[in-house]
Every structure is written in structure tokens, then in C-alpha cells.
Symmetry: D2
């Protein structure tokens, strides 16, 4: 799987921070806080909606949510960079673990099992 997307984004975000001298604020600790604050803005969009409503959003709402997803992705790439971790390498490792942990024929379909396997 190509690393290009994350690599290019990483470099652009580095440059953005450097130009603004914001690197000093971007400790992994602080970035984890910024990341969860962004995800919470996403959660806020969904908190009073039913699951069904969350699947049928207005274009206006969806446009707002799109930018929240972007913020999460941006901070995630930034954090991985500061920790010198490669997101795609991490994802490949986790997917391999998940395939072992949740064999399809064992966990299929039951929410009870799904929850337990979590």
C-alpha cells in the first residue's frame, strides 16, 4: 500500500507548523488532547440524533462534519509524525492482529459476541 498520501500530508503539516512557529506546542501529550477535542466536536453532531438520522444527514450538516473529519486526520498525521511512527505501517500491524482476534466464522453477526470480542 502506498505511503505517499500520508507522507505528503506529513510534510505539508510540518511546514505549516514551522512557518507559524507552532512546533513548540505540538508535544505528543498536547496533540492527543487536541485530537480528542476534535473528535468530540464530531460526537456532538451525532449526540441527539438517532442512528438512522445519523445515516441521513442534510448537505449542510455533512459539510460541517467533513471538516471535522479533516481536523481529526490532520492531528492524527501530525501526532504520528512527532512520534516518528508511520500510520500505514501501524494500520497494517493492527489489521493483521484484528484478523487473528476476530475470525469471521466465529464472531459473525451477533452484537453480543461483537461486544465481547471488543
Amino acid at each position: 500500500m502506498p505511503e505517499d498520501t500520508f507522507e505528503q500530508l506529513k510534510v505539508r503539516l510540518r511546514q505549516f507548523a514551522t512557518e507559524r512557529d507552532w512546533d513548540q506546542f505540538h508535544s505528543p501529550k498536547n496533540l492527543s488532547m487536541a485530537l480528542i477535542a476534535e473528535v468530540a466536536e464530531l460526537v456532538e453532531h451525532f449526540q441527539w440524533l438517532t442512528e438512522e438520522q445519523s445515516e441521513n444527514l442534510s448537505p449542510e450538516k455533512l459539510a460541517e462534519i467533513e471538516l471535522e473529519l479533516a481536523d481529526i486526520q490532520i492531528y492524527l498525521v501530525r501526532l504520528a509524525d512527532k512520534l516518528q511512527l508511520e500510520l500505514m505501517t501501524a494500520v497494517e500491524k493492527k489489521l493483521a492482529l484484528n484478523a487473528q482476534k476476530y475470525p469471521a466464522d466465529k464472531v459473525r453477526g451477533s452484537s453480543k459476541k461483537y461486544t465481547e470480542y471488543e
Copy 2:
């Protein structure tokens, strides 16, 4: 910027969920909750560390955190897919907005300004 990374990952995660009949649980509302729970596991790693300690993690700690980052990336791609949003398109939109909102010569270096501009 190539869409390939996200596109390929999206397809693999779809397949993983389908094989396990987990699609029924993956409403955007539910995925936003799973996403924030994963980010919180990350925050937990950093909560009692100083900022400096968070920049100098042991290999063992870093290996754990790598998998947390993976979980966040996985749920983020999954959520974008369910909302039929493209993560890289979203990121491009947000970066353009950020460049306007935080002109480098105006916000450089001051944490006070940084916070206010947030």
C-alpha cells in the same frame, strides 16, 4: 495528492466488516463513539506524563501507542466511508481554510495568539 491509500484501506475495511456482518453496528453515530473511545486510550497513555516525557517514550510504550493510532485511523476511514466522504478531499478543504484563517506572519510564535486563533 493520491487517493489510493485511503481508497484501498476503505475497501479492505468494508470487506472486513461485511465478512463479520458488523455493518449493522456501524452507523455514523456509533462509529463516532468508537472513534472517541479509541482516542481516549491514546490520551490515557499521556495523562500522567510531562510533555517532555511524552516526547521520549520507551519502545514498549511506543509499540502500544502505534496500535492506538492505527485504531483511530481505521475508525476514521470507516466513518468517512459510511458518510460517503473522501478524507483527502476533506483535508484539502480544511488546509485551504486554515491557510486563510492563520496567516503565518500574523500568528507566528505566540501561544496566546495561537490559542485565540484556535
Copy 3:
């Protein structure tokens, strides 16, 4: 409204931290991280449940959730103490603001209005 409950709890938690020399870790920044990590454990219990299921939990599940609520309350009291804020005073201020912000006859019943008023 009596302050006793929070006051007594505050003193007990102070003593617990002092006896363990944990005060050094309890900066407001760190406590806010610990607090959100605890709330995320709560969210995790509910993430794959329907709203209806979340209203009909098993006694075992409820016993686990009870302890999560306790953790949240404990960190909240601890954080208020470190910031020298009184929780009940804060709540009274907020309830007065909410009564103004959401007049019953204006916001009644519609989820749309509710969300907008948020």
C-alpha cells in the same frame, strides 16, 4: 443547596492523594485528561448498543457502569478542588443561564430546536 456532599468528598480525595504523594501529578491539565479517559470508558459501554438497549442494561453491566460514573465524579471533584472552584456554585450559575437560554415554551419538544439551541 447543601455543599456538604462535595465538601466532604473533596477533603477525602485530597487526603487520598496526599497519602500517596500523587498531588504532583494532579495538575488541572492532567486531571482533564484523566477525566475524559474515564468518560470514554463509559461511552465504550454504550457504543454498539441501541438507545433502547442502553435503557435496559443487565445488572452486571450496570454494576460496571456504576463504577465508571464514580470515577468521573471523583476526578470532577478533584479537578474543581485544584482550581479552587465550588461545583455547586458552578451548577447554580449554569442552571440560571440555561433557564434563560432555553425558555420552556420556546424550545419544547422539537429535536431540531433542541439541537439548534445547543
Copy 4:
């Protein structure tokens, strides 16, 4: 320890929700989301501050944070009510467990031990 504070607050919040017909939105699942969104607003206040700065807030900042703490307390009481749990009973149970889990003479002072015991 007196239950009065929580009991009285519980009744007032019930009435507030009933008058606005908001009870329909207050499933435990939804309230857990609202709760974490409020805590995230708190985290946001601290994310770019050093620990020391978080201990020396301006009166303006402190006044904002006071209202965030109130929101968290309000949703916590509301959630406990919907689950028919008593917050102080929960706290007493948890404090008893914590006293066993973290004996003062065993965990004193070391952040390493503290983290491990967590």
C-alpha cells in the same frame, strides 16, 4: 455522607427536562455522548497550556471553565438518574476499591508506579 445535594439536583434537572419535553433525547447512550462532548470542551481549554499554566489561569478563563465543570456535573447527575444509580453510593464503592487497589505505602510518590497501578 448526605445524599441531599445530588438528590435535589436530580429532581431539578428532571423537571427542567420534562418542562421542555427533552426526556425523549436523554437515553443513557445519548447522555454519555453529551457528557464526553462537555469534557472535551474542558480539555480544549488546557490543550496548549503547560501544566504550570493550567494551575495559574486568568479570572476570565476560570469563569469559562467553571461553567464547563457545571455542564459535566449536570449531565453526570442526569445520566445517573436515567440509570437509576446513586452517585454517592457509586463513589463510596469506588473509594473502597481504590483504597484496596492502591495501598498508600506501596504506591507512594513514583509516577512510574502510579501509572502502572492505574
